[in-house]
């Protein structure tokens, strides 16, 4: 029981890590990115390619992957999302859905549909025991990274000029432009952060379990649920939402593993029914 709680909290960190980028992109650009989960999966594949290609451990590949993913986010924003966002409410959903299908099929063609996993080396298998609960270092690291990333994001948004412009743009796009804010770099930066955090989360998912070209769908749904349960627009809320999801999943799995994922969706549904709008 306690073991399940601990595991749930730790896994929840990774859910929050995927979700924060989704939340940020929606909060600032009103972009519902259906391809967000697939971009996370791309991060895992990228780690696989870089790590085997260079013969380095997966975690050593991360510093290379993050700027690359950031760049991908910027390019996607400038060539794809920006146009889609001009096309009304539905266009971004359709465009990112198309992107999602495209990514999945490219991955199947390039890497086959076989499930893969990332080899974290000895570190991934090591763990420690605390109060009778076996905890893996990898999960602890995943949670710690999630907290650090969310914390840094919070600081960037709260303390820097860029963060101020991001929040101003999210509050009122027109007023931000009237105050001299150039919206393009703001949006590009946010898209970059969004994709980079997704890729990072993808790497951790790949280390902890398996992934295949179609894994993005479930990742996306979990991310959506974490955002909605935690309340839109709040990074710490997103972390809370992720933890609630993780704990629910682990607790239900104690009883019957088959219902673990279903329970999460039911919880999400209940939250939507009971509290559809948050202040």
């Amino acid at each position: 029981m306690i073991a399940a709680l601990v595991q749930g909290v730790l896994v929840g960190g990774t859910y929050a890590l995927v979700a924060c980028g989704l939340s940020l992109a929606f909060g600032v650009m009103r972009l519902v990115n259906i391809a967000h989960g697939d971009l996370a999966v791309c991060g895992a594949y990228l780690a696989l390619v870089v790590a085997t290609g260079l013969g380095v451990p997966v975690l050593a590949a991360v510093p290379l992957i993050l700027p690359l993913a950031f760049g991908v986010g910027v390019v996607l924003q400038l060539v794809l999302f920006e146009r889609a966002l001009r096309g009304g409410v539905l266009a971004p959903v359709l465009v990112t859905f198309g992107l999602s299908v495209l990514i999945q099929n490219l991955l199947v063609t390039g890497a086959s549909a076989n499930p893969r996993s990332l080899d974290g080396g000895a570190f991934a298998l090591a763990g420690f025991e605390a109060g009778g609960v076996a905890v893996s270092w990898l999960r602890v690291a995943g949670f710690a990274v999630a907290v650090v990333v969310l914390g840094s994001l919070h600081l960037v948004l709260a303390r820097t000029g860029f963060g101020r412009r991001v929040r101003a743009t999210a509050d009122d796009l027109e007023a931000a432009r009237l105050a001299g804010v150039r919206v393009r770099p703001v949006f590009a930066g946010v898209a970059g952060i969004s994709v980079a955090t997704a890729a990072l989360a993808g790497v951790f998912q790949g280390l902890m379990s398996t992934f295949d070209p179609y894994a993005g769908g479930l990742i996306l749904i979990f991310a959506f649920e974490a955002v909605v349960i935690g309340g839109l627009g709040s990074l710490w809320g997103t972390l809370g939402g992720g933890i609630v999801l993780g704990v629910t999943q682990q607790l239900v799995a104690l009883w019957d593993v088959r219902f673990a994922v279903l329970a999460v969706h039911v919880l999400f549904f209940v939250v939507l029914v009971v509290r559809p709008v948050r202040p």
């Binding site: 101020r164 929040r167 027109e174 105050a179 001299g180 804010v181 150039r182």
Partner: protein, 235 residues
Amino acid sequence: MLEVRKLSADHGQLRAVHELSLVLEPGQVHAVIGANGAGKSTLLRAIAGLHPPSSGSVLLDGEDITREPPEQRVTRGLCLVPEGRRLFSSLSVEENLLVGRHRAATGPWNLGKVYELFPWMRERRRQPATQLSGGEQQAVAIGRALVANPRMLLLDELSLGLSPKIVQQMYALMPRLLETGMAILLVEQDVSQAIRVASRLQCLLEGRTTLDGRPRDFTPAQIEAAYFGLREESE
């Protein structure tokens, strides 16, 4: 100098502004008055770059800026204080000012000067902008534009939703802004306030100019007729 030449702007099928022209020179207060829906706000939004005009042009110091985005006009010294204040609700008072400051032109205004103009603001600069009263929010909105050092300040419905006393305080500031060589283009429904400060008065009716000149050259009856479009009946 700001020059608007035969500017037209549409809302869908509806023409909101009909070939309007105006000239704004440094140190001037140009007041545009008119009833609801006369096209005043659309005119200001088109000058600020938020509403693409369907024809005509906007010139700043002789340079055509008709197609420039609003954020670029800010760096040129053209700032709009939008109707309804539009403060950034998740930002503090000071952060609102800092956003306005970030691409500022060089000039006399900075955060310290704004705090001098509104002494209460320094103490409350850490408060969320939404916690302020309407009048205080309007002051922050003006401050947010001032810190960018505009040469042309566009004010849209300054008095909207504010008590007469606050409105008077706002208008009392204007001489201090004009001292620095700024020009003010003002849109108002509150005609009496506008007349008091304006060096030039332009009345709009359904997107067309019905009156244009120095306020003292018109009788209240003439202004009223132009405002409501009563020309035929009053003649």
